[in-house]
Symmetry: C2
Subunit: 678 residues, 2 copies
């Protein structure tokens, strides 16, 4: 008699918490098999990943709410919609949100954001800017009188706002915005004007058609002087008829790579007048007689930016989590090719190349999420006034935004490729993820420009005469403890050693850039010297951020609950070793590491891939991404991908008729002619 | 009196050939200024780039023809079209092509391909498969009787064909295709059948709605034995009514990342019968009694594949050329930020980081194009029977396809990012380029699978007991002439030295993979050992291809016309040095290069960037991409980008009305309710 234990018994032997909520009857057995192999408690991982029971509970409430309210869901998959249908769909859901506004709670930003995200997912909601920019900027830039005037209608929903800073000709360099706001003391008004076509406001979400107000950034002129860019609140459309007000011209800027459910718009002012009180005056002011009052130096402005970026880092890491979930689940139900000839086709996740396509990005989901959470914590402390390390943190937030958005975009594309042909179909859900994430490398600051800002700060720290060896930049002025890495085996490579080695490599890259800058500055004017070093400077900035991520990742993993610590540690090691191997030149520089040590790290990578293979499906299950958000035929929880792909085609307009109209219209006449000739 | 020379005189002093055909009145002066700086003859570059005067002349004829025939052009920009409009537009143009079939000349594939490409650009023409796969496969797989039956209607246009190999469940591993063709000797027919949903044919272009025939690949069964996958020609729709024939089910597979003007489709057979004569019988046969006759071993089949891939490499390099053209021109009319404070904003191409975003890919356009041309030459020789190095070449063509498509995709995305916010808009033209190029990493073979095939071949060569030191793999069995690189200055780094260093680095990577495979094979079964090395094997394959590209690039540049040789040499050096610096670990391994030598190469990169800066616009002008193909507001020849961006918005449906329908439908009622409560 064979020695085996019936499954029902195994289930009973498991502690209740070990029952896997992702296993259901009727699932694809190939995916169930994966789930049964989990070496950790999936629910425990989820709780850790989502920041504790309370926050997780709030997520589940949102999910239940949206499941229960069809008005908050898509009528059919968005990729089948034309641009007009996308806009209609998204405005319909906005109206649904207004109806169920009990879910919008500005005191619980996380829950509210999740609600908005679950309603709109990736089709680019018409009004995201209202919540993400208009309200926060109002809150931080408006005086208290202004707040009491504008906030109630902005919150109740009669004012729909956006944030209009970028112009057709200027995004990065806002000091050269062409839009002017010239104060006229006679009428106590500002006159807004767009002097040329390139001065048109360009890009703001929902500016084209749906918002009726905007915070407009314009160069302020008063008493014949330009005082630089300032924010103004401007009504754009009639509150009853929604018609564009006279002396304004606005519209949609046209289709984009993604976000086509949103009417990113343009706006031109023709000597358009607004009352003096519409300049947002918390920080600087223009008095009735036109006197300009400078803002007191304020660190608080920074904390807002840090907060927005922390949200962005978390949000974009979540997009990567979606893509990794899809690619991992699909790779366990896709069988293609044999490893042992004649032994039957294997799951493609069994190929090392496939693991290497996906798992490093699974590790990055964890690393980036932790970094984003940490940044959010820091920004909360900033708000409370603990601002000792403000410049460090500001640089950190810029750099994290840049590094993470770059990597996420790369990762989503790798996940797409990992799905083979089906990854190219919208059925996979990945094209929308890709299109969405591409934008994030540009908005909230072009990534390269951000990295150059980080580098500028690093160069200042490197040049400091009274350097600190504490804080985020402290490593720069520390001495290496050794000229060679002490790594002997990847299995015994301690957190302390890892941080040592990253500190060494990063310090070297940053100081090399610093020295090059010094050398070039001796020969060229300072701006020219800077430009000649700028590629190397961006690389230095990236290493600075990587070091930070490595450090915080190791720390958080060491403090994670015991049951999930091993799997997290493997993911962390994969992230770290892969960074080292992929950039081995930086670690071998000046013989700090030997080729043998690099080989050892490579072995660490291969071992981590094999280890993660066992838990892969359970790790992505633990991300707990709801299927409404996942929007993917390939990434379905149940693994029943193939019948669902066939179902998917039923949404195609082309399939409504056997013979398409275009055949009769264009081809039939030609074919008849040809046949007549034959 | 200032010393200056009037422009009219400069023009007169120039040799006539030096007049720049890209300079016109009314152009943006910022771009004219660039063109005046050219250090080489742009027309001469174009002639070299396009393979001589005769081929260039053929291009110009096609361009003129399409300019003169509106029916062959888009009615308005494709990004504003819904999927149905895209399909309508593309079928309309197909009908136009049939009307002007004098331009379709199967004896001049290059001209014909350019014609098709100029008509359809990137919207995914409905019938590309007819020309790219159906006709060529018919030509190479049909017997002479079959050819005389099928070719005339296929060329005249009554037969519209596609190539249906991939199934929902299988693309890479075609031995496991589920579709069966079972021979019935009683009726002398094959019975085609799809046993499960995952056996549905899936992906073939125009299979969904427009083709009426397909070459279907199915597993052949006769006399109770499976003889593996074979091609059959199958009629799918009625030739008069275009209705799907009984016992077939077909349709569109839905929207994709790109190619949405095409109806990539699915197809299921329900015991569908075709005559025995419909099996393509040039190579293998089934006799009337069901006897299977094996194909004689044929090397010719390879030459077709090499040809298709050579076309693909050239074609995809051309997509990169489009993106580089757009990013370069735009970067000379975009002014953003100051280098010298107060001195006015600079062209963004003056930033080193911007140059580094774009120029390495400009260099790759040249490198990949040369490699593609060379491959095409080789495949022509193969056809003539010169097949001594067939396996070498087959591996080369697989590897080139993989490496080039990967890099092109990366490059197009970099060009998109280089355009800042506007790169995200379809006005840039880059989203379509990106979406189009993404697919090429998957079709005609998943890139990783191809690289593994190359690696398999390399391992065979490495293990060879009677190795040759000639040919594409010859370097593997050569000895390094030195244990250290002889590079002293990047300025004097000779072609010979460069090839030496790349041979050394490549040999090392390949042999390391070989040794790892040997070690693992001692411990694991051979398939397991292979899998455990597979990531490293793909890396080895990439280096093998890089070495080939470097060698052919240096050779071709050294033979280029004198006037353009300097600029080509700078581009080649940028390509090469950047490869070395970005993979410095591979060159520093075992102390082959010192950190100082790497620094020297870095200086070479910075110097190349600065040199190319002067000629950048003229280099992309010399690619001579017609504006109908470029489809880009940002990449316009005249540089008048900003007014054109505003014009572009007029195509948006959303801009037809001031107040959008969705406002009245969804938002107005809610706002009225809110206001009533207030
Ligand atoms: C989807 C999307 C949504 C958006 N939503 C909004 C919105 O709601 N409101 C709003 O106001 N704006 C919005 N924007 C605009 C966005 O903020 C800008 O596009 C972004 O700030 C980049 O600026 P830019 O487009 O001017 O790029 P540019 O600055 O023109 O960048 C082009 C290139 O120049 C380089 N470059 C520029 N300056 C420098 C420098 N000093 N040194 C080195 N290199 C440099 C960049 O690295 C880049 O490669 C949105 C953009 C997108 C894509
Ligand atoms: C735009 C487009 C157009 C197409 N047009 C056509 C057409 O006209 N006619 C047609 O017949 N087909 C067509 N195809 C299908 C295309 O040829 C296949 O998608 C392609 O061959 C990849 O196969 P797959 O989809 O099965 O990928 P899979 O093989 O399933 O790949 C998924 C993953 O598994 C990995 N993998 C698979 N096998 C192995 C292995 N042995 N070792 C290691 N890793 C492995 C891959 O690397 C990849 O990461 C088209 C596809 C696209 C995207």
């Amino acid at each position: 008699m064979p020695q085996y234990q019936p499954y029902s018994q195994i289930i009973q032997l498991l502690p209740v918490s070990r029952m896997n909520r992702y296993i259901h009857d009727g699932d694809n057995p190939d995916i169930t098999e994966e789930r049964k192999k989990a070496t950790f408690d999936v629910d425990g991982f989820t709780e850790w990943y989502h920041g504790g029971e309370k926050r997780l509970q709030a997520r589940r409430e949102v999910e239940k709410y949206i499941e229960d309210h069809k008005e908050l869901q898509d009528t059919h998959p968005t990729p089948f919609m034309s641009r007009e249908e996308l806009i209609d769909n998204s405005v319909r859901k906005v109206a649904g949100m207004a109806k169920y506004h009990e879910m919008i709670d500005m005191t619980n930003i996380e829950k509210t954001t999740y609600f908005i995200q679950m309603v709109h997912v990736r089709d680019g909601q018409a009004f995201s800017l209202h919540y993400l920019m208009f309200l926060p900027v109002l809150q931080s830039q408006a005086s208290s009188e202004q707040l009491s005037k504008w906030m109630p209608p902005a919150i109740s929903g009669t004012i729909i706002g956006t944030y209009a800073q970028t112009e057709m000709g200027h995004g990065t360099n806002i000091s050269k915005l062409e839009t002017t706001a010239t104060y006229d003391p006679k009428t106590q008004e500002f006159v807004l004007n767009t002097p040329t076509v390139s001065g048109a406001k360009w890009w703001p979400g929902s500016l084209g058609k749906f918002c009726n107000h905007a915070i407009v950034v314009a160069n302020l002129w008063t008493n014949g002087r330009c005082e630089g860019p300032h924010p103004f609140i401007v009504q754009l459309r009639d509150m009853d008829t929604h018609k564009t007000l006279p002396n304004l011209k606005s519209g949609d800027i046209g289709p984009k790579l993604g976000l086509n459910g949103s009417d990113n718009g343009y706006l031109l002012f023709d000597q358009f007048r607004i009352p003096r009180e519409n300049m947002l005056m918390r920080h600087s002011k223009v008095l009735p007689d036109g006197t300009y009052v400078k803002p007191p130096h304020s660190k608080l402005a920074y904390s807002g930016m840090v907060f927005v970026r922390s949200m962005m880092v978390r949000d974009i890491a979540n997009h990567l989590a979606n893509a990794v979930t899809i690619a991992t689940r699909y790779s366990c139900v896709r069988r293609q090719g044999e490893l042992v000839p004649g032994a039957g086709e294997v799951k493609i996740l069994d190929y090392q190349t496939q693991q290497y396509r996906i798992f490093p990005f699974m590790a990055k989901v964890i690393a980036f999420r932790i970094a984003g959470e940490e940044l959010q914590e820091i920004s909360k402390q900033l708000k409370k006034g603990e601002a000792s390390q403000l410049p460090d943190i500001h640089a950190l937030s810029s750099g994290l935004k840049a590094l993470v958005t770059f990597e996420v975009q790369r990762g989503i594309e790798q996940c797409r490729l990992a799905c083979g042909g089906h990854g190219y179909s919208h059925a996979s859900g990945i094209p929308e993820l890709l299109a969405f994430s591409c934008g994030s490398c540009t908005y909230e600051g072009d990534n390269l420009v951000l990295l150059l800002q980080v580098a500028k700060y690093l160069m200042k720290v490197a040049a400091s005469e009274s350097p600190s060896t504490n804080g985020i930049c402290g490593y720069l002025h520390k001495k290496s403890q050794s000229n060679v890495s002490t790594l002997s085996s990847h299995k015994t490579y301690s957190d302390h050693q890892i941080v040592q080695d990253f500190e060494h490599a990063t310090r070297r890259v940053v100081l090399q850039a610093f020295n090059k800058l010094k050398t070039e500055s001796a020969m060229y004017k300072s701006h020219e010297a800077w430009n000649r070093c700028s590629v190397e400077l961006t690389k230095a900035a990236k290493w600075h951020i990587r070091l930070y991520i490595v450090r915080i990742l190791l720390l958080e993993v060491s403090q994670a609950p015991e049951d999930i610590r091993p799997v997290l540690r493997t993911l962390a090691k994969l992230y770290i070793f892969d960074l080292q191997v992929s950039n081995k030149g930086n670690f071998m520089d000046n013989r700090y590491m030997t080729p043998q040590q690099i080989d050892e790290l490579k072995n660490g990578v291969w071992e981590a891939l094999a280890t993660i293979r066992t838990d892969a499906v359970s790790i992505v299950d633990a991300f707990a991404i709801h299927e409404i958000e996942l929007k993917s035929v390939l990434g379905r929880r149940d693994g029943n991908v193939y019948p669902a792909l066939m179902e998917w085609t039923k949404h195609s307009h082309l399939n409504k008729k056997d013979v398409p109209d275009a055949f009769d219209k264009y081809l039939k006449p030609i074919m008849e002619k040809i046949r007549a000739k034959m």
